[in-house]
Symmetry: C2
Subunit: 358 residues, 2 copies
């Protein structure tokens, strides 16, 4: 998508296809374009809900070019006072649960209510393959065409932390561009749910009826993070099983202690493909916001999340600096071997390695 | 308890009570005792299951005196080849669940089977109050008198990490002293269960029937860590409710995916006060060891735990070094304020603070 809009831009500027096939002219065009980036104009366009400007700013955030990083920081700083005004919703569920269909139905419901919806994704597998779970946008054909919807493929990066940062900053840009609902999708591999959970107001877990959790591959701890569990594909022959699953999940949820939000997680049925139960979920979310705003949990949670990301980013960097030192890398392996041989304890080994770094 | 054994030692050496009340003579006695510590002799005594020597070595591990730390390291090193030979069991449950009564009944059952049982505790509250959940040993009167049992109050310390290290090292000493079952008790405040879980082979959760988890104050995630849930006080009028709770917990456990140990957590009933169901729990533990030893999970888990403690200790130290720098402390507060005011992002603030340290 980013590529598409770039070439669209180029075409607008009268660059012909033949020119683009010439490598050196591409370079000079790119240099010209770089020079053209004017932060003020770009920010103004973003605030005017200009999608091309928004896409361009996101591309800068995702860029590894240090110059782009500086530009991105400036843009973010200007957008910040206009951020924080959306409802951020995390959606997870294993492949096959119908996430795309659900997000399309949910997104269309929201745009029908005059909401502006941005859909982002965190896909840890993309950190390896540089692929993207939302790359193939044919998955959400109707929503893509909707003028009040914005779908952005997942950022790629070297680490989940890097992807998280890019997504977190993209949220700020989308909010500045006037999107009032931000959906963040994840496939639930590795730590991605925890990452998404740490940047959203409301966390929705999509499930299927019948299939045990073993089969659904849901990781431990996910159920506890959910503010609502929606059992999708609750239609036709599946409806009875879905209702049974609802009872079972409700029972399971009651085994958990109350959340600090005072919110009792809900279990609800839906059929994204038949567009049933989607409005119910949106109403649950509105209810959640009302409930958690009453005792200021809603804002408190956002503050806690900001603090979490600040501390987390620092800690990740400290660890990465330490463990990527060649001397430490080598000695860590030695010390692990000594521990295995009962020749040292983990604590004595830690002291040794820490002294080595200094 | 440490104090008691110290004064006992003093009495053996013919120091009269009147002398002890004299501060300066106490000091000279202490100095004499310090000089007397001979690592070789102490280790030999530990290996001969001399409880006084064991207690003394643990006191050295717990000491903040740098000289003692060096001695403790030497003792640990000599004990290490004799360690790793026990079954390490973590036991948790909220106050009122009957932990002391359970541990007493369980410990007595084990000593009746010729086992040597050590009971340690991790009590995060003791890091603040310097108190100890096992300090009042009248809680386990019978077990205290048992010559094959050793009960040690929880170490105190400035941090849970510090307490964890002391407990982890005390396990090594107890194993060297021939204890073949090590029980680590925790009250389940803060992160203490996770800490205990990371140093034991088997994790037992004690619960009560009837009372909801809200009332029992069980934290999220604990149920997932349990290898077995024992519903205590399953006697008299309570038995019916306990049986119902068993069904409910079994159902809840099935909602979780299989553990990497391939072990399906059990739910069982017991009455510690009536000494019922205690043998069943021990048999479950033996079954667990058989099952997890078959595919070498048992040893693999211990190796993973060693690695975990190595990495964890290093990471804790890196963080503590960073965040305790006065300059960082001050600027962290400023940056948090800027984030709250929408003037910076957590990521930009993190970059700023990391550069400041260098």
């Amino acid at each position: 998508m980013a590529k598409k809009s770039k070439s669209a831009l180029k075409e607008k500027k009268g660059v012909s296809i033949s020119e683009i096939t010439n490598a050196s002219s591409i370079k000079s065009i790119k240099e010209k374009r770089k020079a053209e980036i004017d932060v003020d104009t770009l920010v103004k366009s973003i605030l005017k809900k200009d999608i091309t400007a928004l896409s361009r700013a996101i591309t800068l955030i995702e860029s590894k070019n240090p110059k782009h990083k500086d530009l991105a920081s400036l843009i973010l700083k200007s957008c910040l006072p206009h951020a924080n005004k959306s409802i951020r919703i995390g959606i997870t569920g294993v492949p096959g649960v119908g996430k795309s269909t659900f997000i399309e139905a949910f997104g269309k419901h929201l745009t029908s209510l005059e909401k502006h919806v941005a859909v982002l994704a965190i896909d840890p597998s993309s950190t390896i393959t540089k692929g993207s779970i939302l790359g193939d946008k044919t998955r959400m054909e109707d929503l893509v065409k909707d003028k009040n919807a914005f779908i952005r493929p997942s950022a790629s990066g070297d680490s989940l932390g890097g992807v998280a940062r890019k997504t977190r900053e993209t949220i700020i840009l989308c909010e500045a561009a006037g999107f009032d609902v931000i959906i963040i999708e994840t496939v639930g591999v590795g730590q991605s749910e925890t990452t998404v959970h740490s940047m959203v107001d409301f966390f929705l877990l999509l499930k299927l009826a019948g299939a045990g959790d073993e089969l659904q591959g849901i990781k431990r701890g996910i159920i506890e993070m959910a503010d609502t569990i929606a059992i999708n594909k609750a239609d036709g022959d599946n409806l009875k099983r879905a209702k049974l699953a609802k009872v079972e999940f409700n029972r399971a949820l009651h085994l958990y202690p109350e959340k600090s939000s005072n919110w009792q997680p809900k279990v609800t049925l839906c059929s994204a493909i038949k567009n049933e139960g989607i409005d119910v979920i949106w109403n649950i979310i509105l209810d959640y916001i009302r409930t958690t705003s009453k005792h200021d949990f809603f804002n408190k949670k956002r503050h806690e999340q900001n603090k979490f990301w600040l501390i987390q980013t620092i800690e990740d960097q400290l660890k990465s600096d330490f463990f990527n030192t060649p001397k430490i890398k080598k000695e860590l392996a030695n010390q692990l071997q000594l521990i295995e041989n009962n020749q040292t304890t983990p604590f004595v080994a830690a002291d040794y390695l820490l002294k080595l770094k200094i």
